[in-house]
Symmetry: C2
Subunit: 449 residues, 2 copies
């Protein structure tokens, strides 16, 4: 089966089938993978979701619920199911997924779900709920395949087969001592290839990467990506094995971090849910806009200072918006390239210095080219060569400032230990507004009046 995203016509078909007889709906549902149904669930009401869940096997239903995006509120669906069905589904869920979903409910509903579970499951989930969501502890799954270093090949394989009844997918086998302290890793392949009678202690690879339960999720993602790992073990302060984070969790983290990056870059609070309602969006964006209003007053105060100049040569009003706007765009370009570079790798001092130098050069050249175009326009349209020259100098100077601030400010923030992403385009363009007006109106007041 070559399968791609469920598309609009599929969704339409299922929606129609929801009106029809149950057996036809059931037959249709068999054509779809759980992750496709999860996408469908984002666009149908809760009642329809419930109806479909009742037709699915517990296994598929739990996969659908675990694949639903947080924004589609799988917890609302879960709490709304009859308690028996709900219990079966929760027991089928991986502990980390169950924890993520149950944490979204209020205390009372959490209690209702947890009391139905067998006590071991409930303890696992309550335990996971104590870790912060954006740490290795919050991401990890407590179900791992582990063997004792003292085991022989035969004992280890028996253990693995036994433990793998519970665990769908595993890529790495963890080796622990009798107190569950992590000793190293071993692959199933190496165990199988080993001669019989060999002990795990002889096969274990002790040169491995691990994280603590409180390691930040971004660092977990970086390690998995840098070392090309399918999973990374999570340990407590005593090196006791607590769980593992797998590569698929990391792909989700990467998507999440990238959303945050582009939002912060645009002056949107990183916490804004993409599909949140208008009130969430107002709360997230208004503070940034009000901050920007402050910086806009600053830029506008430059214009106010030069009001006599503008009133004597009103044609400047049209040109000043061109120069400020171009500066803002050039600064945004330099900022995007620099922020992305900082995100992907640490720059040495020398690299940082060369980055600013490069952006300064780019600003100078792009400023001169665009300045020349506007200069020629001013000469022919306004018949004023001196005005053209003032514009040329202002444009070149402003794009130079754009390059220096667009690259320099995030690099400076990074150096002093502040998140460089707060240098959003909103902040940087304040500089280009202020300097753009200052260059143009300042020069004009000296040279043209």
């Amino acid at each position: 089966m070559q399968s791609f995203d469920i598309d609009k016509s599929d969704i339409q078909k299922i929606k129609q089938a929801l009106e029809g007889p149950e057996d036809e709906l059931q037959l249709l549902l068999e054509d779809y993978h759980a992750s496709e149904l999860a996408i469908l669930f984002e666009s149908i009401p809760l009642e329809a979701q419930k109806r479909i869940v009742h037709l699915l096997s517990v296994e598929i239903a739990s996969q659908v619920i675990s694949e639903m995006k947080a924004e589609a509120h799988p917890e609302d669906l879960l709490i709304d199911l009859p308690s028996e069905k709900r219990q079966e589904i929760v027991e089928e869920l991986d502990y980390d997924d169950a924890t993520d979903i149950i944490s979204q409910l209020d205390k009372e509903d959490q209690h209702e779900i947890l009391q139905d579970l067998d006590s071991e499951d409930a303890v696992h989930i309550r335990n996971l709920m104590t870790y912060a969501e954006d740490t290795a502890g919050g991401l990890m799954n407590t179900e791992v395949i582990k063997v004792d270093a003292a085991m022989t090949k035969k004992q280890a394989i028996d253990q693995i087969v036994l433990q793998s009844e519970e665990i769908e997918e595993f890529y790495t086998i963890y080796v622990v001592d009798h107190q569950d302290v992590l000793q190293g890793i071993v692959s199933l392949k190496d165990i199988i290839k080993a001669k019989s009678g060999v002990s795990i202690a002889q096969l274990v690879n002790t040169n491995f990467v691990y994280v603590k339960t409180d390691t930040d999720q971004e660092q977990v993602a970086d390690l998995i990506s840098q070392y090309n790992l399918t999973s990374i073990p999570v340990v407590d302060v005593n090196m006791k094995l607590m769980g593992r984070v797998t590569f698929d969790d990391v792909i989700d983290v990467l998507e999440e971090e990238n959303t945050e990056d582009i939002l912060k870059f645009s002056g949107v609070s990183e916490d804004e849910q993409l599909s949140g309602n208008w009130w969430d969006a107002v709360k997230s964006r208004l503070p940034w806009l009000i901050l920007n209003l402050g910086t806009a007053f600053l830029a506008s105060s430059v214009i106010r200072y030069f009001e006599p100049t503008v009133s004597k040569l009103v044609v400047l009003a049209g040109y000043m918006t061109i120069i400020a706007g171009m500066g803002g765009n050039a600064a945004t370009q330099a900022l995007a390239v620099t922020i992305r570079r900082i995100t992907l790798s640490d720059l040495t001092d020398n690299q940082a210095y060369r980055t600013v130098l490069k952006e300064l050069t780019v600003g100078l050249i792009n400023g001169a080219v665009n300045g020349l175009i506007v200069c020629v326009f001013a000469y022919f349209y306004d018949d004023n060569l001196l005005l053209g020259l003032v514009i040329f100098i202002a444009m070149t100077g402003n794009l130079l400032i754009a390059g220096i601030t667009g690259a320099g400010i995030p690099l400076f923030l990074k150096r002093v230990g502040v998140d460089p992403a707060i240098a959003s385009s909103i902040i940087i363009t304040t500089f280009t507004d202020v300097f753009g007006f200052l260059f143009l109106l300042g020069l004009a007041s000296k040279l043209l009046l």
Copy 2:
């Protein structure tokens, strides 16, 4: 070993050791993982890279070269090594990595490297070089673990152990018929758990996801991420198994796509290398800036049209930049949220409609709040309530336009099949500039003069 990125002090230490005796350098190098040395290589000259490579085992050296970013030009290092060392390293590389690196060289150097290899390796690499870089064929590795459906458990395990001599990591075993046509997948776990005498045909899972050699890399990444796969098989038009793409390639693709997204968003050509030189940056950004200059002239022509108004009430010059600037920032916010939403999932017509409605509401509220602040300022500072009211209306109207265009334009482009990311902030802010000036100056000319 809990290992994090190589840091500045490490790099300094190695640089110092490069000046000292060989054995001390070698001892120091043993502390670092290949992926850490790859990071180091980005900041030291070619001669120093060569010196270090000579001290590393072939295995580590090939890992370092395969982990180096394309921007660090591993091909320059490779072609500069003595031919024997080079041959050993290339033979140790995975075919896909070798292909990526060798493709960067000119024809002559490619020939020099390929002629030294044994003919099977050379054929594999030449074959991979025929696929476009951004397709499944370009990403895939041709080395896979595969078993014939007709094999018994015992035969299959022997085959897997044999094949795994060549392949470091494998997560899924592919099942083929005698003509290499892909039949399905099976996990090592399932083979081990099976009773002896069972044939692979009884264990094979025929419900699997695959891609063609010409499938776009973004689609490959989406499938691996959606179905949480460690690897995905790549087949030709006859379903013959050609190779596999693994999750670690996909993590790289995701990082790459995210860089492109943030660059396009900021009006930078997606092809710009983050660490390219100033000339590359000028070539990539100047066309966008010149396009923007055209739109800036458009906005400035509105001001020119109302020049008589501005010259009679010059205080408008300061306010108009505030209103246009705020509109631009609000539009960028709406655009970022909408573009990111479109990237992560397909929106139904109904969801698209509600998104525009939401952004319209957000624009109205944020516009009214900011408009009120500036209105109060104008009343007290300029002692002109009517001017304040005009500003209030212009600000509210402009942020309304910002919401509608910021959400509506990318959604419209997506609907008509155009990449919504070309609606970069540069394009959208043209609308808010034009409408900002139009609202403020138009109303002022009617009400204030």
